[in-house]
């Protein structure tokens, strides 16, 4: 058997108790192998616990470990970095906890924060930068305005007050309150980004979140305003749009005006 084939067999058996071990192995090898098998599982589950500490608190240790094990069997790690082991875990918990959508929402936030934490260092566009970049803009240029957002900025719709949930699952966790948190009467948006050297998040209006999502996908300011108009009517939308852009700039979400 070639080294490549032996290595594939060795790794597959780390991931599954059912995968066969080499027939030439004696008791001695099997005992030694168990050390690697246990270490593999322990290390990866610990990596997920480190990425998702609040999700783990919310569902409880035992359920979290089962979910982590399920995730690792479904998506065994392929990347050289252990940080990637938790990629897609929000989708895993969405299927595992279908009646508790806040679990997936929280996991999504934790993953987006981990990702934002080590993104490329950039300087966001500030108010005076915006003024300078748009000084010569006529109506048409404004309608066609497109934004480049800072690396790591992520947005999604959520059905729970994730700020409150985050707080309740902090170091002095109030698990009972966290688990009893009722859903919001209307969905909202949640935005994760890196502020200086720390990752953070905030909640925003659902229509604003859809607008932000569209502009991240390269929609023009005009198209973004149409989303707001559909959500809140023309009059309100126009004043909302101006304040929204100012808020994005103030939060440090915008990297540049697209050329």
């Amino acid at each position: 058997m070639s080294l490549a084939a032996r290595q594939s067999q060795f790794i597959l058996a780390l991931m599954s108790d059912d995968a066969p071990l080499p027939e030439t192995w004696q008791e001695r090898q099997r005992k030694g192998y168990e050390v690697y098998r246990n270490a593999y599982r322990a290390r990866l589950i610990a990596a997920l616990e480190e990425t998702y500490p609040r999700t783990a608190r919310l569902v409880g240790d035992e359920a979290f470990r089962a979910a982590a094990a399920h995730h690792l069997i479904t998506y065994p790690p392929t990347s050289w970095t252990l940080d990637d082991a938790g990629r897609g875990f929000a989708l895993t918990v969405e299927t595992l906890f279908p009646r508790d959508p806040e679990v997936a929402e929280l996991a999504w936030i934790e993953w987006a924060m981990q990702t934002a934490f080590t993104t490329r260092d950039t300087r966001p566009l500030d108010g005076s930068g915006l003024v300078a970049a748009t000084a010569s803009f006529g109506d048409e240029a404004w309608q066609d305005l497109r934004l480049r957002f800072v690396p790591g900025l992520a947005v999604r719709q959520v059905g729970h007050d994730c700020m409150e949930l985050w707080h309740l699952l902090g170091d002095e966790a109030d698990l009972r309150a966290a688990r009893a948190l009722p859903p919001l009467s209307e969905a909202q948006g949640c935005v994760v980004w890196r502020e200086g050297l720390r990752a953070t998040f905030t909640m925003i209006d659902a229509a604003e979140a859809r607008t932000l999502e569209a502009m991240i996908e390269d929609a023009s300011y005009d198209a973004a305003c149409d989303i707001l108009i559909a959500a809140m009517g023309e009059e309100r939308a126009l004043s909302f749009a101006g304040a929204m852009l100012a808020r994005w700039i103030a939060n440090g979400w915008v990297g540049a005006i697209a050329p």
Partner: protein, 278 residues
Amino acid sequence: MTSIKRFAGFGLGLRRPHYHHFLEEDVDLDFVEVISENFMVDGGKPLAVLDAVRQKHEVMLHGVSLSPGSAHGVDRDYLDRLRQLAERIEPRWISDHLCWTRSSAHNSHDLLPLPYTAEALDVICANIMIAQDHLRRPLLLENPSSYLCFPEDEMTEWEFLAEVARRTGCYLLLDVNNVHVSAHNHEFSPADYLEGLPLERVRQIHLAGHTPGEIAIDTHDRAVCDGVWDLLGHALARTGPVAVMIERDDAIPPLAELLDELDTARRIAATASREVAA
């Protein structure tokens, strides 16, 4: 390929609970070692911390994911990232382990054992040559702790490691705790192991604690044991002064405790150099 000059001194692994000491104080160390992968990121706090520490200390980059023993070859994306980090940090040297971590499809995130065969020797030497070319410098290769020996082994670990060093021109990072652990697990003599290595190629020594048992496990979660201190003296009397450090990755105590432990290494090194002089 350039050579790596000797650098004698005492260091520790840079770990998160101690960052504030390194950023705010003058920690009395000759170097720090960091896990390369933790800093192979695009930006943010980890790199900001490392940049600041680098202003004050020599840094060694110690990797766990090069996977030089993979039959599947080395990962170019990984090497690109590692080279970027090396260009930024200008480490004294870059090390990784005599092991493999991934197959064609999956990554174990563990230092898995190689069968010591001619085939594996060809594989690891080819991969190390590629890595050294890409990084434009020789590597240091560390002996791992291992928990199983393969029936197909054709040579001992020290024969294998010596041959890798001879063929690739790489240097050695001698982990005396790993020698101690593997010697227990595979019933060989630590002295034979050291005698079998080209000790003139050792540039760094690792010390660490392990969990004893029928199979001893390299846990880095406690103080260095007496047997490992003895082995340090034995090794230093043969390598001469090199970079010596303690690895601690779990149950991490206050920095002062590790600095105290490092004083034991300093005393042993002083005794070893007196023995060599005599």
